[in-house]
Symmetry: C2
Subunit: 160 residues, 2 copies
Amino acid sequence: MATEIERKFLVRHDGWRKQLLSTTHLMQGYLASTPTLTVRVRLEGDQGRLTIKGATQGISRSEYEYPIPPEDAQRMLDELAETAIIDKTRHRVRCCGHVWEVDLFAGDNEGLVLAEVELGAEDEDFERPSWLGDEVSDDPRYYNANLARHPFKDWSGRQA
Amino acid sequence: MATEIERKFLVRHDGWRKQLLSTTHLMQGYLASTPTLTVRVRLEGDQGRLTIKGATQGISRSEYEYPIPPEDAQRMLDELAETAIIDKTRHRVRCCGHVWEVDLFAGDNEGLVLAEVELGAEDEDFERPSWLGDEVSDDPRYYNANLARHPFKDWSGRQA
């Protein structure tokens, strides 16, 4: 069990491309979402992963993650996902002492770009890269589980 | 991914005790149950296990099962289970060419005894032990997910 502390931001421009470490194609879907937890399956490159997350408390939530065979992940995405599949390319970017994840969404969320950083403590200070936009950590529209249900293409007054 | 073919029966008497192979204490809870799948966590002796089962089709259903650390299993049972915890002692019994599982329930399902056998095909023939009672494979009341929600102590006209 891990406690995940992440902060999520919009992205103002693609200056992050100069600091690129790696790029991975990522598909994920939700098998179940209840008020107290979500069950996510992910295929990241050729690695499958099953993740159970407890309810969010502030910007922390309990998380249990297990590697699974990629063929299991693909089959669950095909047969058991209760939502649309989120399709994005994840760019790992080193900047200002942290590794950021910059996600470019495809499919129904095309046009959306989000940057996330994982922190060691809720109050940890960090330097903001020049390409970073507004923080959206607390905006439920940007939760992946919600992007699967209410994708960016259907938003009125898009911000990203 | 496995397809599980199981048949479930009531138990008429405890003649099975003479054929006992092993006994394990087992606690399980459900993290999520939707019309299309259930997510179950189990602590069996000192082994944790996470199981995702697709919707039942006849007596077959798709099943994905992964070992997890026992401390993760215990914590999920404590913090994330959406139902009561099922507490039972599982007896493995060899009889007539198959290994049967005879489950003695405790807690809110005290008094209930069920026997299960796993088969290789839906139409596989098998010999019925003398202690076997009526088949309940198709009776939803005996599904573990339902026993967690509507335990045996609350049934009217108990059968077991």
